[in-house]
């Protein structure tokens, strides 16, 4: 049964009428065309589909869209317009943190949610923050370094 659902997506109000049991990931990718949100596993393990819902990182493949009524959602498409994103992008490039890139938008989202609450994280905190994101290319160390660089260069930004 279809239901009307309202939420704020990348700072703009969205109103859709759909089956509330559909995955938020499919709403974002198929209905709203936000293809930066990737499907890597479809069961909440890999973090490629991570988005920010009400300031928390969530895997959108295990969220039923009916549960986001009234929520504020940020995807990579919204986040990439910010200064914080630009700094993370540059730091990731400098650290060599991006190989195939499929996991990267989700990891950028994880880095943002970490730096928001802990602008100067130590290595352990960074590893914890990205432990819900799988990367098969880098072995993670260069991603950890990228987040460190962003934290150092981004004093006052977060």
């Amino acid at each position: 049964m279809k239901k009307e659902i309202n939420f704020v997506l990348n700072k703009k109000g969205v109103n859709i009428t759909t089956d509330p049991l559909r995955r938020l990931l499919d709403i974002l990718r198929e209905d709203l065309g936000l293809k930066g949100v990737k499907e890597g596993c479809g069961e909440g393990e890999c973090g490629s589909c991570a988005v920010i819902i009400n300031n928390r990182i969530v895997n959108s493949c295990i969220v039923a869209v009916g549960t986001v009524e009234g929520a504020e959602i940020i995807t990579i498409e919204g986040y990439r317009k910010t200064k914080q994103y630009k700094l993370l992008e540059d730091s990731f490039a400098e650290a060599g943190a991006v190989q195939c890139g499929f996991c990267t938008p989700g990891i950028i989202i994880a880095a943002e949610t970490l730096l928001r609450i802990n602008p100067e994280p130590n290595e352990n905190a960074i590893r914890d923050a990205i432990s819900g994101n799988l990367c098969r290319c880098t072995g993670y160390n260069m991603i950890v370094e990228g987040i460190k660089i962003a934290s150092q260069k981004g004093k006052g930004l977060w």
């Binding site: 990737k38 596993c41 195939c100 890139g101 432990s131 993670y140």
Partner: protein, 750 residues
């Protein structure tokens, strides 16, 4: 001395990938696109008696073997793999037909409603069964996709005269690629021409497979690679199969057809690393020098031949490791079983044997009372020596420098001594030496690939690289642009390299075998130097460069004699571990790597290859467990098949040893696969040292360790295991109740 080209630059694709605007195949929508879902066999081996298909709603289609205009076989070494099953199925997951239509859910619904009526045939699941079963083989009359043997010196004579012989048997299991982007393709049929877009390593493999499947003229088939989210060999041969599916469906429906896997389907039906069983018999003289080695390798190929023949060859050519052994016999078999086909995976048969040879060398060292690092060093290959196939090592082999460097970095010897004298928890340290043969075997580049590259100078003074090699994350686009930019003396921003489209690029060969930089980069360097000389001739220019085999290469493919590879890259790993005395979980405390890859084209990208390769290798050695029970994969999701996370392994310390190769671009050799190869044996050696139990198989799980340790605690269980206790220290053993198949297996064998 550091070369200028090695200084890192930023990878060119970071902005679009990090910002989520890069378009992977699942992100591309075509007007009127339909969705395809595959109906697959749920039997490991059966005859298909009939298929009952429900009435289809309008706009929905079935695509099957009758929709293939040409040959229903995926073009490979042996054409035994059908695009769609004919009368029999040979593994769970074998494709039977597609359902295609505009609504995904409806398509899925139809797939579930189709009934296939089977008549089961007795399946073959293991290497042993495959060797025994002659009555009803899956392939040929002996289930053997490939069988080879080669010799060096006089192994029979050596074994007849020497009395000190050490025998060992090792095994390795499946590994799944888990590239983060699942496999996918889109087929389009327009104006009598088929185009397939998709994630892939080898656009021309796909094109050639489609040519054979359609039997059409060459200009009616086009293949375009889309930004590829990791591959590791998994997108080498497999995309040819699904490209066929999408193409047949596009022709039948007249609409674009998308075939993208979800993770579960990807794990269940795509290729994996070959499980292996490797036996050694080694004879030593009275000075503890190895005089002869006999190696017997068997790999589990699964239901179709795929690339198993060449995977087996690389296993065999790597079987005696980095050691100079005068008398050698190596035998190998790739066997058919009713399981998902095994295939290419980073290292391509080498990681299995390097695990085995390194553990075997460690075991012999223990037996003769030498430290493994000394025993191994005593046997290393040097310039002027010949390889197992009799190929002359012409370049300097810098293993002594590599060993010395890694010992200093990791304090290997010091820790080895310290852990021996004083037990400080269950700590251990392990060491591995390894090489990777660069590029295709023997004369493969000359006889099979015949690579051709093109450089195009445009009116605006920009230069386009036209090759069929792909960037799958490893950084090929940046690396090859860097080579051309440096050779031409033009800024890198002026060098263009788009995803290959077979209508635009020549066949420079597949993106495999660590050949992209060394071979394709080498051709581009030559082309760029020619273009530089002719730069002012005309506003637009095209330079074509074809592969010419270096004159020194001698290879007899029939006898396996000569230079199995044009050149080798070398390396060493040290891994330090601590084992939890209660749970037997392995905690890795330190990882070190030293590599000679000639010259780094970009030190940062190379570090990316090394770090990623090592962590994949450690996953292979420890946590990546895949079992197949009655033909069905037990770990078919990422929840069950676990790969390393950011919390599993510590930082890695890396050093590079410069050793320019005359025929490589700027001196570069191969690098992409090498770092994978040495990780597992270094880890397994560290575990063996920590617990003082012989590690004979990977992955080394806590369950396996617990069962080993308990067996040793009960000597009546295993005479063989007890023999391996050679040093003084014995781990503080507990004696909990243990049960499980591991022990049952061990009891049977002991």
């Amino acid at each position: 001395m550091k070369q200028k080209i090695s200084i890192p630059i930023k990878k060119s694709d970071v902005p679009e990938k990090a910002g989520g605007s890069a378009k992977y195949i699942a992100d591309i929508e075509f007007e009127g696109m339909l969705y395809a879902k595959t109906l697959r066999s749920d039997r490991p081996r059966a005859r298909i008696n009939s298929i009952k298909i429900p009435e289809l709603p309008e706009g929905y289609y079935i695509v099957d073997k009758n929709d293939i205009p040409g040959k229903n076989r995926v073009k490979m070494i042996i054409d035994d793999q059908p695009f769609f099953a004919e009368d029999v199925v040979n593994y769970i997951g074998e494709p039977i037909l597609l359902v295609v239509g505009p609504d995904k859910e409806k398509v899925f619904e139809i797939v579930y409603k189709i009934k296939v009526y089977y008549e089961d045939i007795e399946p073959i699941f293991t290497i042993e069964e495959a060797e025994k079963e002659k009555k009803n083989p899956i392939y040929g009359d002996d289930n053997c996709f490939a069988e080879y043997e080669f010799k060096k010196g006089e192994p029979e004579k050596a074994f007849a005269t020497l009395s000190y012989i050490v025998e060992d048997e090792y095994s390795t299991d499946y590994q799944e690629h888990i590239y983060l982007e699942p496999q996918g393709v889109v087929g389009i049929y327009e104006n009598g021409k088929v185009t397939v877009y998709g994630a892939m390593q080898c656009p021309y493999y796909v094109k050639n497979a489609l040519l054979q499947a359609f039997g059409w003229d060459e200009n009616r088939i086009r293949v375009v690679q889309t930004t590829t989210g990791g591959a590791f060999g998994g997108k080498e041969e497999y995309p040819s199969l699904i490209a066929g599916h999408a193409a047949f469906a596009a022709v039948k429906t007249g609409k674009p057809v998308q075939l993208v896997f979800d993770r579960n389907e990807d794990i269940e039906v795509t290729t994996k690393r070959h499980p292996s069983s490797i036996k050694f018999k080694t004879a030593l003289d009275e000075n503890n020098r190895i005089i002869a080695m006999d190696v017997d390798i068997k790999i589990d190929a699964g239901a179709n031949a795929g690339l198993s023949d060449v995977v087996l060859q690389r296993s065999m050519f790597s079987a005696t490791g980095v050691y100079n052994i005068p008398n050698i016999r190596v035998r190998g078999k790739a066997l058919a079983t009713n399981k998902v086909p095994s295939g290419a995976f980073r290292g391509f048969g080498a990681p299995q044997v390097f695990f085995a040879i390194e553990m075997h060398m460690y075991h012999i060292a223990d037996k003769v009372g030498m430290e493994p690092i000394d025993f191994k060093t005593k046997h290393i290959l040097m310039r002027g020596d010949t390889t197992s196939t009799g190929g002359l090592l012409r370049s300097e082999v810098k293993l002594p420098e590599i060993i010395d460097t890694i010992d200093k970095m990791s304090q290997y010897r010091e820790k080895y001594e310290k852990f021996k004298k004083k037990r400080d928890g269950l700590k251990g340290i392990g060491f591995s030496l390894f090489f990777h043969g660069c590029g295709f075997t023997g004369s493969g580049e000359k006889d099979l690939i015949k690579a051709k590259v093109k450089l195009k100078k445009k009116k605006n003074d920009k230069v386009e690289i036209l090759v069929s090699n792909v960037d799958m994350g490893q950084g090929a686009q940046t690396a090859l642009r860097k080579i051309v930019s440096y050779s031409l003396d033009k800024p890198i921003e002026h060098i263009i390299y788009e995803n290959p489209d077979t209508d635009r690029v020549p066949d420079s060969g597949p993106t495999v075998a660590s050949r992209t930089v060394m071979i394709v980069g080498g051709l581009l360097e030559k082309a760029a130097r020619k273009l530089k000389e002719r730069w002012n001739e005309a506003p637009e220019l095209e330079i074509v460069e074809r592969y010419k085999q270096p004159e020194y290469i001698r290879w007899d493919q029939k006898k396996f004699k000569g230079d199995a590879y044009p050149e080798y890259s070398w390396g060493a790993n040290v891994v330090e571990v601590e084992i939890d005395p209660v749970t037997y979980e392995i905690k890795v405390l330190g990882i070190w790597g030293v590599y000679d890859v000639g010259v780094a084209i970009d030190e940062k990208m190379l570090r990316g290859q090394i770090e990623g390769g090592i962590i994949q290798g450690l996953g292979f050695a420890t946590i990546e467990v895949m079992n197949i029970k009655d033909g069905k994969i037990q770990q078919d999701t990422i929840t069950d098949y676990i790969i390393p996370t950011s919390k599993d392994f510590p930082k890695i310390e890396i050093k590079l040893i410069d050793n320019p190769y005359e025929y490589g671009p700027f001196g570069a050799k191969c690098a992409g696969e090498l770092p994978f190869v040495g990780a597992a044996p270094a880890l397994a050696s560290a575990v063996q040292y920590a617990l003082n139990v012989p590690i004979r198989k990977i992955p080394v799980t806590p369950e396996l360790l617990l069962s080993y340790v308990n067996l040793i605690n009960k000597p009546q269980n295993s005479k063989e295991l007890r023999e391996c206790l050679t040093t003084e220290h014995v781990p503080p053993l507990r004696d909990p109740e243990v049960s499980g198949t591991e022990i049952a297996e061990l009891k049977e064998t002991s």
